[in-house]
Amino acid sequence: MSDSPDNPSASEPDAGGSGPTQRTATIDRPEGGSAGPSRVRQLLATVTQSLTPMVLAVIAGGILLALMGRDPIEFYGTVVDRAIFSESGRQETIIRMAPLLLIAAGLIVAFRANIWNLGMDGQFLLAVAFTAGVAPMLMPTLPRWLVLTLVLMLGGIIGAAWTVIPALMKAYYGLNEIITTLMMTFIGVNVANVLVKGPFYEEDPGRAFPATPVIEVADRLPRLFDTSIHIGILIGLIGILVVHYLMTRTSIGLRLNILGASPRAAHHAGLGVAKLTLLTFLVSGFLIGLGGSVELLGVQGYMRADWDPALGLLVVPLVFLAKMNGWASIAFVALFAVLANGGELATRDAGLPNDFILFIVALILIFMTVTDYLAVRRGGKGNPWIARFLASVGLRREGRDAE
């Protein structure tokens, strides 16, 4: 983020205490302004500050592996080897980024507007279920490109629709969305399974589990060049960059940022807070639902009952580390995809469940808040988004300023 030049940089402990420690406004100003080496230094400081929690988490995860009698060096070696240095693994890593980028985009829209949509998994999985159910019905009658476009839109709309209840509750009753979206996620996951076992179910004696019809490989999202990478990665990149520029360069983005910084200010500025809240939820849910469709049409091809990758909460720390910046989010999503993809193979080699990644994400979250705390204590700026998250809790805190 762009500090004002006179603010001490967070990574310089020597400057601690001497500089002004007052927090700057949390609205993200467009980059640019100060030029020269100090800007490079600041960028470097931001990068280190953001990367530290990830590095620490990986180290702590390695200690746990060692405690369980696994060789951490070998483990992480496998991760890097499989996820980066093998051709197929590299492609798999990029494929994995597509839904994560769209979820990240959905979260950035919401979080910047101070709306804590934590119902990602329900929105995602319902979109997956509808995509898996509807695409095979349309395929025989319509051309492929049209079906894919329609179904992608449908996924987004389903994702958006699943946010309507929490959105209305937040906009008109002031009910905290953290709890309501979580509740909706639990319901959504179950509804998705009902759909897969009911209306979208296809009998197939070759399968041991209930599932939807399989979409032919030729009918799935087109591949890029000669690789196995499908165009979902482009949708993801476009999605997150559009969100980034929408939020930092346009008037609607400014409005959402104002809503995020202070609902009261937004109200006094004549912005329809209820409408903006509703809009934010819908866009957020749309992007997350789109992520679900992309994952199904690009990778899975069908949905089996009880399948739930539960990606949502895993993306939360990434957008925090990226400070809601689209470009930085791409970098963190890429790092995470390496960890998730390589980690899946490495845990299998080590005879462990893939849930190791949950532990790593938990450590990232904890180290993230701790390093932020230390940065603030040393007189730096800290991560304004964490501070804002802190101010957002409580069932009825409408109108309370973020800082």
Binding site: L175, F186, D355, I360, Y373, L395
Partner: protein
């Protein structure tokens, strides 16, 4: 259709299904009153479930299992205490981290220890209260449970009294409203909140242990399935009164039990629908009563002396 036996099974099942929520909800309630929003209760439950299961398996005693589950929950809540109460970090981020980390860790431990054997623990002892348990229908349903059920209900009554009538109870309530006033009165904000946060850990741990030892008889990763989050909402809706947590939790238990009973007598209702009912109920209750839900004014806000 509603035979006496079915009715007994219904009430018995409802009580048993509600118990993990009673335990976790009571702990969460104390924590919320002291201003610590413990979002990590789901993680504390799963750790308690794991600890309780392992200890019961090792010692053959459910009592030891509950002890271990409670201690495990308390140990996890120490993370919350150090990071949130002492250092004042964000309670929600840390809470999510605790939940994710505990789920990941228990899944790993389960895989390392039990993935080949899938051991189970036998039926736990029940304490049939003499005379009362001979009553028709409600007798076995209400008075034929594990002793911890009765102890918990006593704890809820004791908790109501203690929150209202003891110095510690007053300190807990005050520290959730005006920590600066408590500080000025010479009572330590940090110790009071530490006590409350650890109560939530013990409650969550015991709730998880009950789930593993009594309800399931084994440990499965992710077995808490969102109950921790329901406990949080129950505590919010109870507006600080422990007995309402008990009522809410048993309503939840009855709804689950009723749906299972309907399935048994042949009413076609999907398991997924059954699992969704409690969350939908919570949403409906939030809409109906959420506007009146009372939350302590310093909830989730860290206290730093001298800051306003």
């Amino acid at each position: 259709m509603l035979s006496e036996q079915l009715l007994t099974a219904l009430i018995f099942g409802g009580l048993a299904a509600g118990m993990p929520l009673v335990l976790a909800g009571l702990g969460e309630l104390v924590s919320q009153r002291a201003g610590v929003l413990n979002i990590g209760v789901e993680g504390m439950m799963i750790m308690g479930a794991y600890g309780g299961f392992v200890a019961t398996l090792a010692t053959g005693s459910a009592g030891m299992g509950f002890l271990a589950g409670g201690l495990m929950g308390a140990a996890v809540s120490l993370i919350m205490v150090v990071l949130c109460v002492r250092m004042g970090l964000d309670q929600i981020v840390v809470g999510i981290a605790i939940t994710l980390g505990a789920e990941g860790l228990t899944s790993l431990l389960h895989a390392v220890q039990f993935s080949d054997t899938y051991p189970r623990i036998g039926r736990t002892i029940v304490l049939s209260i003499p005379w009362l348990s001979d009553l028709p229908v409600v007798g076995r349903a209400l008075f034929g449970h594990h002793p911890i059920v009765y102890l918990t209900l006593l704890a809820a009554i004791f908790g109501t009294w203690a929150l209202q009538r003891t110095r510690t109870g007053l300190a807990i309530r005050a520290v959730g409203e005006r920590p600066e006033a408590v500080d000025a009165a010479g009572v330590s904000v940090v110790s009071t909140r530490t006590l409350a946060a650890m109560t939530a850990g013990v409650g969550g741990g015991l709730g998880g242990a009950f789930l593993a030892i009594v309800n399931a008889g084994n440990f499965i990763p992710f077995m808490t399935g969102g109950r921790g989050f329901i406990a949080i909402v129950l505590a919010m809706l109870a507006r600080g009164r422990p007995l309402w947590v008990v009522v809410g939790a048993f309503l939840y238990g009855l709804s689950v039990s009723l749906a299972t009973a309907l399935q048994l007598v042949g009413v076609p209702i999907r398991t997924e629908v059954v699992f969704s009912i409690p969350f939908a109920l919570v949403l409906i209750m939030l809409v109906l009563f959420g506007r009146n839900a009372y939350l302590p004014s310093a909830l989730a806000l860290p206290y730093h002396r001298g800051e306003r």
